[in-house]
């Protein structure tokens, strides 16, 4: 994208998660969201952690695996028009550093949420399903796959 004198790629979505400081920013924002939930007096600690995991997982699924294309016009004539943000990341290259980061964060949140909810069964069910929702779409076998034609165009 031609933005002044910056380094130019046709689609900035492919390289945004390699920008300096963005991983730390992402972690800080997640931590902040957790602190907000934790500060609500009507949530117990377990609920706050599970809720963090749920909000993070649902948000990640929506932004990375549901919405497609770019909000701006790119000069590659719409190459990524039907690709989700996860598929656009690093132009479809699998297991790059940014992708590994995003595969790790749901797992870290899951382990923390399981610990802080004292391994109770209800919380286990919720957290594990959110973990699957976060991890399965990121596997290279599911790159570009649209189940039952949902979200294809």
């Amino acid at each position: 994208m031609h933005t002044g004198t910056t380094n130019q790629v046709a689609n900035p979505n492919t390289v945004v998660w390699n920008s300096p400081g963005i991983w730390i920013t992402y972690s800080i924002l997640t931590a902040f969201m957790h602190l907000v939930l934790l500060s609500m007096p009507w949530f117990t600690t377990s609920v706050a952690w599970t809720l963090t995991n749920v909000v993070h997982g649902v948000g990640m699924y929506f932004f990375l695996h549901t919405i497609k294309g770019t909000p701006f016009e790119t000069s590659d004539q719409g190459k990524y028009r039907y690709s989700t943000h996860w598929e656009q990341m690093d132009s479809g290259t699998q297991f790059t550093a940014a992708r590994k980061f995003f595969m790790t964060t749901p797992i870290v949140l899951y382990i923390l949420a399981s610990f802080y909810s004292k391994y109770e069964f209800t919380h286990f069910v919720i957290n594990t399903s959110i973990l699957l929702l976060s991890l399965l779409p990121k596997l290279p076998q599911l790159h570009g796959v649209r189940l039952f034609g949902i979200n294809k165009y």
Binding site: T44, T45, S46, E73, S75, Q77, G78, K79, R81, Y82, D90, S91, G92, T93, Q94, F95, T96, A97, R99, K100, M103, T104, I107, Y110, I111, S114, F115, Y116, K118, Y119, E120, F121, F124, T128, P140, H143, G149, K152, Y153
Partner: protein, 479 residues
């Protein structure tokens, strides 16, 4: 056996550690596997997913054996369609043109309205050189917009009776930028197979699916539209996100024929396809006020989604323009690559174009005159037995071909002899040159494009026709 978990609102760290020891086994195993997965993840190498089928060693060896290298420098005959060197023009071209020192009647320049060398335009352009300098020195968005650019666009929109217009610095780049600004990968463009090279480059740059239909054969187009409509019925979700366009020319540069715009507009509404009309040769020629093929057929210009014209033919300036609805044109201000990334039109040329529009509005009878002269020239050419005419009967720009056609190279030789003989007798013609190996149709028949100017009197036209007739006969005897 299990200890009751403390259900109080207080969360105690010691209890959390205790519950970790008493956690269900499946949960701990799952967490262990996840930690192993993270550890393995750190060592995965990144790779790109290959969509190609891997070849076996035998297949690779066969391909290597079959491969023959191409020459580093290709055969010269393929790269140049004309092997003769360029002719040199001296002085100011207009109705007469001085080629290699000899003054001839200019039937080669597409100077339809005689504005080439017009004194009024030259005066106003010189005044703008004194006012603005020579170049605008920047793209339109980066300090390259001068007030004459804005004036030119407003005047063009007003003249063409459309909402807005945008001007480009180069006629070829206009349509080649307009098409990819709207049509992207996955979209479908239905286009006449005889479109000019600029449109072909625009189609290629758009990366869309191109469907060619036979030249001016709207039955063929309708068939192809029906096929697409059937495919759309099978996959309506895909169809709802696929944009479809039709690109035609008002008067085709390669054949001189006119498009059937009323039927195209009907097809547009029937099959929901956007219509782009390229009016390089019809702007300033067709229509009661020279507004092009839409005025010729009495169709309101808003029915055509985008009209693209060139100021390099009838207006005798440089550059091109697009006109249409406001939201359509405004999109090109950021997405038209030839507009955004090229320096803007020099102000003197924009001023020349505005002056040209003034002249067109001062002399509204000029359009009937040029069409009458075009018709006259075509009628005279039709009487020549050795030549075949192709073009709309009133078009001042049409093609002549050898009637007893042999193969391509012989026809080219014949036309060269014809052009030389005409030059000897004071009529300047030029063969329609093409990059055959880069065009969509490589083996287009060789032709001469004749362009009549409104400045030529009927006697001069008759003289030119007589010269061409004699040259055609002479050339046939030489071949």
């Amino acid at each position: 056996m299990s200890v009751e978990y403390n259900q109080s609102k207080e969360w105690v760290f010691a209890e959390a550690i205790r519950s970790m020891y008493q956690a269900p086994l499946y949960h701990l195993i799952l967490e262990g596997l996840l930690l192993v997965w993270i550890f393995r993840l750190l060592f995965f190498k990144s790779y790109k997913i290959q969509n190609k089928i891997p070849l076996s060693k035998k297949e690779k060896d066969d391909l290597v054996k079959d491969w023959t290298p191409e020459p580093l420098v290709p055969d010269l005959q393929k790269t140049l369609s004309l092997s003769t060197p360029y002719k040199e023009i001296t002085g100011r071209p207009g109705k007469m043109i001085t080629v290699d020192g000899k003054e001839c009647l200019n039937l080669a320049s597409m100077n339809f309205l005689g504005l080439l060398g017009n004194e009024r335009i030259a005066e106003k352009s010189s005044a703008s050189i004194r006012k603005y300098g020579v170049g605008a020195c920047g793209p339109r968005a980066f300090y390259g917009t001068v007030d004459v650019h804005v004036e030119l666009e407003e005047r063009l929109a007003e003249y063409m009776k459309s909402e807005r217009a945008i001007s480009y610095a180069y006629g070829f780049a206009t349509i080649a930028s307009a098409i990819p600004a709207y049509s992207k990968r996955g979209d479908i463009i239905f286009v006449d197979e005889a479109v000019c090279f600029a449109i072909q480059k625009g189609l290629h740059a758009s990366r869309s699916n191109i469907v060619y239909f036979r030249h001016n054969d709207l039955d063929d187009l309708e068939e192809k539209l029906k096929i697409q409509a059937n495919l759309d019925k099978k996959d309506p979700k895909k169809a709802s996100v696929t944009r479809k366009f039709m690109v035609v020319e008002g008067i085709y540069m390669n054949t001189g024929e006119i498009c059937d715009l009323p039927r195209l507009v009907d097809l547009k509404y029937k099959y929901k396809v956007r219509l782009f009309v390229e009016e390089s040769l019809s702007f300033g020629v067709l229509g009661q006020h020279g507004r092009g093929v839409t005025e010729h057929y009495n169709i309101p210009i808003d029915k055509v989604d985008l009209v693209v014209g060139s100021m390099e033919y009838a207006l005798a300036s440089i550059g091109g323009f697009c006109c249409g609805r406001g939201y359509v044109i405004d999109h090109q201000r950021l997405s038209g690559h030839g507009y955004v990334f090229s320096a803007s039109l020099p102000p003197l040329l924009a001023r020349a174009a505005v002056e040209g529009l003034d002249i067109l509005q001062d002399e509204p009878e000029i359009f009937n005159k040029i069409r009458a002269k075009g018709k006259l020239m075509q009628e005279l050419m039709q009487e020549v037995p050795e030549l075949k005419i192709s073009g709309f009967y009133e078009s001042p720009s049409f093609h002549i071909r050898r009637k007893p056609t042999a193969n391509q190279s012989e026809d080219e030789k014949y036309l060269k002899v014809l052009v030389d003989q005409c030059y000897q007798n004071g009529v300047c013609l030029s063969i329609a040159s093409r990059l055959s190996h880069e065009e969509h149709i490589a083996d287009w028949p060789a032709s001469i494009r004749v362009s009549v100017s409104v400045e030529m009197s009927d006697d001069e036209i008759k003289m030119a026709a007589h010269v061409i007739q004699q040259a055609a006969h002479y050339a046939e005897q030489q071949i």
